[in-house]
């Protein structure tokens, strides 16, 4: 098996939400809790989950906008978390981010040309006289005319702005691009264009994507493998086809059942989750999903409420963090033939 491009090990990010009189933290928001993940070169890894489940925080830790509370980020044989600032920055060149909001991600006081040239200038990637050509080339790569370089961001549509953001990320010649819901702020017609652009660029530049989204349908379109997050933890990771045809975690099943189907005669069972997402502030022990789990009653002996389930490889390359699934498989094995 190929070496992963980047490996996250037990990555956690806690935000203090409350402190006592003496400045000691009394309650923690566990945005990301003990998350481990491998991303392989050339693949697109889709990370899904509802708002507030910590997927953006994962992305921000990768690009060094947040320092992890604990855990390791292995890239190029080194743990980026432990690297001193300067070296860390050098590695960060390889990991870039495409933002969700194309309106707030471009400086309104800069021309598009300057926005794209900035990464090159700051890092002295190219001699001064070659920068203009490079900017023109990058604009063409993302399907914009090089003539736009002297325009300001506000003169563009959302889709065009997102293309500028992509060009800015490409300017750093990254290996991995974290796409933080890059199309959720766009019209549906434009979404497809941007997604296609991303996949073309991946072929052309040999890019690897961590594609963060809150809907499974967009992720289905672009990903090779998919990870499902719930309240700061990964609950299921599997190759795309496997996940969509054979979801194992109760939460994934509920998510998939929520995708609208275009065929009106085809009715599938909707799984409606009860209650709200519980708060990521000082979460109780046990499975994060236990409070809303409709399948929990199926396994009385399980430790759903007391111990957090770990990700287990129940099928080849299919990982699930659920006692129920592991339990069923054990049973199947013991009662099976032979």
């Amino acid at each position: 098996m190929t070496q992963p491009l980047i490996s996250l090990r037990h990555l956690s990010k806690f935000f203090p939400v409350d402190t006592d009189l003496f400045g000691r933290t009394t309650s923690l928001l566990k945005a990301v809790d003990d998350l481990s993940l491998d991303i392989f070169p050339g693949e697109t890894f889709g990370l899904v989950g509802e708002s507030g489940c910590g997927k953006t925080t994962v992305g921000k830790m990768l690009v060094n906008l947040h320092a992890p509370t604990a855990g390791e980020i292995w890239y190029g044989g080194r743990d980026l978390v432990k690297l001193p600032g300067k070296e860390r920055r050098a590695y960060c060149r390889d990991i870039q981010l495409i933002f969700q909001d194309p309106y707030s991600s471009l400086d309104p006081r800069m021309t598009v040309g300057d926005i794209i040239a900035e990464p090159i200038r700051v890092n002295n990637l190219l001699p001064r006289r070659e920068i203009d050509d490079r900017v023109a080339y990058l604009l063409n790569c993302v399907g914009l005319s090089a003539n736009f370089r002297n325009r300001y961001a506000h003169q563009f549509s959302g889709g065009q702005r997102q293309r500028v953001g992509i060009a800015r990320a490409l300017a750093m010649e990254p290996k991995l691009i974290v796409c933080d819901e890059p199309v959720s702020a766009l019209d549906v017609s434009i979404q497809a264009q941007v997604l296609n652009l991303l996949s073309e660029l991946s072929d052309e530049f040999g890019l690897t994507y961590l594609f963060i989204a809150h809907g499974l349908s967009v992720v289905r379109h672009v990903s090779d493998r998919v990870g499902v997050m719930y309240l700061g933890r990964l609950v299921e990771v599997a190759p795309k086809r496997e996940l969509y045809t054979n979801p194992l975690h109760p939460y994934t099943k509920a998510l998939l059942s929520a995708i609208p189907v275009t065929n009106p005669r085809y009715r599938k069972e909707r799984i409606l989750l009860e209650g709200d997402v519980s708060s990521p502030i000082d979460p109780p022990p046990g499975c994060r999903f236990a409070g809303r789990c409709y399948a929990k009653s199926g396994c009385l002996g399980c430790a759903c409420d007391t111990r957090t389930p770990e990700l287990v490889e129940v099928l080849p390359r299919h990982f699930v963090a659920c006692y129920l699934v592991a339990d069923e498989r054990d049973e199947a094995r013991s009662t099976g033939p032979g």
Partner: protein, 298 residues
């Protein structure tokens, strides 16, 4: 890619100049009559400040007791004061003092205030607390009282007045720049600048301050009026310039005993202060409107 075909690549667009946000702002400013008149008045004042001293009919510091307290006439347009000095000449020459002190004091206050405010806002945490509590302490003391105290410590003179007025105006700038920095730094483009490896200093200089520029300009313009007013107040209290140098507030202070006998000795320097301060205030308001696209005069 339909959105691209809307803007075909022609030679014309290739040489397109960046669209000029300043030009748009300028148009909106000159459409505001009060701001335009104020701007013209300030322009005139600047000319007077530069060339006035060479054009005045009398030596502004020459006493002539034989012609003390003369009403305005063809010889003395604004009359003469209690020492027989020509008020017109003194008002003209006073413009240079007021504008110079105003500009220099505002520059000191703005430079220090912008640096402190942007650092406090951008870095946050303990640095923010220390800087802003310091500013709060300065704001807790009335600025004119603080300026008087500083003048008492430094001594008389234009240069001392510049320092005193400049120092007491720092918190205004620090506060306004800090609050703007706080909102600007939440934008994704600041995060983007960090991801591509910009240093914090460069982010403040290239991304935060340019986006706060409009507020800084407005504040600076309004700051001119308060600096000029502060100088006049110091002068009125006899703590500004070294006599017999002509300064509007100083003229008011010395003439106030003659208010019933010779009101023109107070009227003209008072008018000069009022009009100048009013002009800067109106221009500041006009700039604020011009920078805010929502309230732009169409």
């Amino acid at each position: 890619m339909s959105e691209l075909e809307l803007a075909p690549a022609t030679d014309e667009t290739f040489h397109e100049k960046p669209d000029n946000q300043w030009l748009e702002m300028w148009r909106s400013l000159v459409a505001n009559r009060a701001a335009l008149v104020s701007l013209a008045f300030i322009g005139l004042l600047a000319l007077i400040a530069v060339f006035g001293p060479y054009l005045v009919p009398y030596n502004p510091v020459e006493t002539d007791m034989a012609h003390a307290l003369k009403s305005p006439s063809a010889q003395h347009w604004f009359g003469t004061d209690q020492l027989g000095m020509d008020i017109f000449s003194r008002v003209i020459v006073g413009a240079r003092v007021s504008l110079t002190v105003g500009i220099l004091a505002v520059m000191i206050a703005m430079t220090v205030g912008v640096i402190l405010g942007s650092i406090a806002g951008y870095v946050g945490g303990r640095v923010d607390t220390v800087i802003m509590r310091l500013m709060d302490i300065m704001l807790a003391i009335p600025s004119i009282l603080l300026a008087i105290t500083l003048m008492a410590a430094l001594g008389k003179g234009i240069d001392k007045a510049v320092i005193a007025i400049g120092l007491v105006s720092i918190p205004e700038y620090a506060r306004i720049v800090r609050s703007n920095t706080l909102s600007i730094k939440e934008n994704d483009y600041v995060a983007a600048a960090r991801i591509v490896g910009n240093s914090n200093a460069r982010i403040i200089a290239r991304h935060v301050l340019p986006n706060a520029l409009s507020v800084i300009i407005v504040r600076t313009t309004l700051g001119m009026s308060s600096a000029i007013l502060d100088l006049a107040a110091l002068g009125f209290l006899g703590m500004g310039v070294q006599p017999p140098q002509a300064e509007w507030g100083d003229m008011l202070g010395r003439a106030r005993g003659f208010i019933f006998q010779a009101p023109y000795t107070l009227f003209f320097p008072g008018m000069a202060i009022t009009l100048t301060v009013l002009a800067f205030n109106l221009l500041g308001d006009g700039l604020r409107d011009a920078f805010d696209p929502k309230s732009r005069v169409k």
